[in-house]
């Protein structure tokens, strides 16, 4: 476990006790999405990933990744580590395994387990 993931886990473990605030189970995954995915996959014409998915799926699936309801966590991990089309793969120094777990959980939150 690297220092960053240990720190993140420590925060998850200790934050509720300290703040007594409702926890967001997807906060870590959302943070990874915002940093690494949003510039291409957020809603709107200025996002080339969203445009590409809109054209590819022709309305069968949403162009916006966050709206997918059949995106297994396993598929997220494969796509991030292998890339597709002009999207490159991401290294572990960019998105660590624990961050990828969190991202996959976040993006698959509306999908059946698979």
């Amino acid at each position: 476990m690297n220092v960053r993931s240990f720190t993140a886990m420590l925060c998850v473990l200790t934050a509720p006790a300290l703040a007594q605030a409702p926890t967001d189970p997807h906060a870590a995954g959302r943070a990874v999405y915002v940093k690494w995915c949003a510039p291409c996959h957020d809603p709107g014409i200025t996002h080339p990933g969203t445009n590409a998915l809109t054209v590819k799926y022709k309305g069968v699936k949403p162009g916006v990744l966050l709206e997918w309801k059949d995106l297994p966590a396993s598929a997220v991990k494969v796509l991030v580590r292998h890339g597709i089309s002009v999207m490159p793969q991401f290294r572990k120094t960019e998105i660590s395994d624990s961050e990828l777990d969190a991202l996959a959980q976040y993006l698959s939150r509306n999908s059946p387990p698979g």
Partner: protein, 550 residues
């Protein structure tokens, strides 16, 4: 496990163990699964044996760890290849120039050490991306702009030492020129600071570039003489206002005075924003609007326009020119932008119009006149990097869009530098269009306009697709090599290129029996006698690999 060339398994294992001791075992990568992450996602040798791949990767978090890695590599003769964020896609990505190198991945060195608003400079590590620096500045409400290239996830340091460019004011668009001071781990592990940084407890490292004595910063760009671990940059004070205008002219031969006048205005600093040339009549967009065309489609042309365009040669026919004049479609369009106090930029625009008004039929239009800061919610209609705002919109190039139903796997950039004249634009189009047609390359099919990143010269930035089909990739690679040679025959050279083309490009720089290349090799032998640092980068090979690899 792949071994670096000429390295024994036992030595390699010992080196990896020492790397792990230096950085922690979790930051040394040796499995096939992990090393696949270090492949060049846009490699022109995709899925072919010649693709350059790493034997291992190591990710230090500090300058001291980089020094330990370099010293270990010297002890065991293990070649290293340093990357910053590994995102210079189209120019090599995260892969080494020679298969078997251990990639030194500097992404974890991501500290923004200082952003000084009062004197507008920053000091950063190589893992800092343009997004990182931009958000750091915005969160602190500092009134300075960065200058970024199109892909915002690139390294501020890496892009500068790869000599990339951006879109704001002329003083900042050349990213290497706008740097001030470096910290470098030399190939023997020793630490060097350049410029004023060579003074212990320096007070002006990011404020005076050259220090005293030979100014050596340039040798650490596009080279393999050191690993840059810190780098300073001058930033642009946030301008008060922004003015964007167009100058359009109706005739083919108007291109020459249009460019000549632009050069005067830019060299005299009457305009300093990114100048952008287009040819509406030839259907070629300004560089900054390529992404808008990719997203929303190019302007529609009438059947008559398409017909006369098809009959044009090197972007010209009398019929095309007559059609443009009749239809009110300009032959050439120059976009100018100005940053500064409103009363200053209004006056600059008036002076610019006076200069251009000697061209018959010239027309002027104010497109935007606004106070700054720019409202980030209004970015859709703008090319964000022209406001120092990083994005990833440029990846609409090659991605699937309504106008590009067949996405590519990536691209390689053909990017020759040519003179800043209208005549050179036409000559380069004639030469490259002819060569590209003969080679079956999807470049210069009609008429292409160069970009104005640099002062005093033009640059073409043209994407050649990388596909999933090895035969097509081979055709494009061979064609790319030939275009480099053709450019060289006309006195033009690339400004930057991917590792697979670096030898061909450097072969063009052959004055006096390759004196420049031989000087690079002299430096390499003196600075890096064991040849452990980034062998082959920009065709600079250490003595023991010279000939066998090159």
């Amino acid at each position: 496990m792949m071994l670096p060339p000429g390295v024994k398994q036992s030595d390699f294992s010992s080196a990896l163990a020492e790397f792990a001791k230096a950085v922690g075992g979790e930051w040394v990568f040796t499995s096939d699964e992990d090393l696949n992450l270090y492949r060049d996602a846009y490699s022109p040798f995709l899925h072919e044996a010649e693709e350059r791949v790493a034997s291992a990767a190591v990710a230090p978090a500090s300058t001291e760890e980089v020094q330990q890695i370099v010293r270990t590599a010297n002890r065991y003769g293990v070649p290293l290849y340093a990357i910053s964020t590994g995102k210079n896609l189209g120019y090599g990505g995260s892969a080494p120039a020679m298969s078997g190198c251990v990639v030194v991945d500097l992404k974890r060195m991501n500290r923004i050490i200082e952003v000084n608003e009062a004197n507008a400079f920053a000091l950063v590590e190589p893992g800092v991306s343009y997004f990182d620096l931009y958000h750091h500045i915005r969160e602190r409400k500092l009134k300075v702009w960065i200058d970024c290239p199109d892909p915002g996830w690139g390294s501020v340091v890496g892009n500068a030492i790869d000599r990339g460019g951006g879109y704001t004011s002329a003083n900042y668009r050349n990213h290497f020129d706008s740097h001030c001071g470096m910290e470098v781990v030399l190939p023997n592990g020793e630490l060097l600071r350049t410029g004023m940084g060579a003074i212990p407890n320096a007070k002006t490292w990011q404020q005076y570039k050259s220090g005293c004595g030979p100014w050596i910063d340039g040798i650490f760009s596009q080279s393999n003489f050191g690993i840059v671990t810190k780098m300073g940059f001058w930033l642009m004070p946030e301008p008060e206002a922004y003015l964007r205008c167009t100058v359009t002219v109706p005739r083919y031969n108007d291109l020459m005075p249009l460019v000549e006048t632009l050069n005067y205005l830019e060299n005299a600093r009457i305009t300093s924003g990114f100048p952008d040339l287009a040819s509406p009549l030839n259907g070629y967009p300004p560089t900054g609007q390529v992404q808008l065309w990719n997203e929303s489609g190019p302007p529609q042309q009438t059947p008559e326009h398409r017909r006369v365009l098809a009959g044009a040669k090197v972007g010209f026919s009398p019929e095309l020119e007559a059609y443009g004049i009749k239809s009110g479609i300009p032959y050439w369009e120059l976009w100018l932008s100005f940053h500064g106090p409103m009363e200053v930029i209004d006056a600059q625009w008036r002076a610019a119009q006076r200069r251009f008004s000697t061209i018959g039929g010239v027309k002027f239009r104010v497109v935007d006149r606004m106070s700054l800061p720019f409202d980030p919610s209004k970015t859709e209609d703008y090319h964000e990097p022209e406001f120092g705002i990083p994005s990833l919109r440029a990846f609409s190039i090659g991605a699937r869009t309504p106008w590009n139903p067949t996405p590519s796997k990536g691209h390689m950039w053909f990017s020759p530098i040519i003179p800043r004249t209208g005549e050179a634009i036409i000559e380069a189009n004639r030469v490259f269009a002819e060569a590209a047609r003969d080679l079956g390359m999807p470049l210069f099919r009609s008429f292409a306009m160069p970009a104005c990143f640099w002062e005093r010269s033009f640059i073409f930035i043209l994407a050649t697709p990388v596909t999933e089909d090895p035969a097509t990739n081979k055709q494009y690679r061979d064609g790319f090599q030939k275009l480099i040679e053709v450019g060289g025959q006309h006195g033009w050279g690339e400004y930057r290129t991917a590792p697979v083309f670096q030898k061909s490009v450097m072969d063009v720089y052959s004055f006096n029996n390759h004196a420049l290349q031989r000087f690079h090799e002299t430096l390499k032998d003196a600075i890096d006698p064991n040849g452990i640092l980034s062998p082959g980068r920009y065709a600079i090979w250490p003595k023991h690999l010279r000939g066998s690899q090159s």
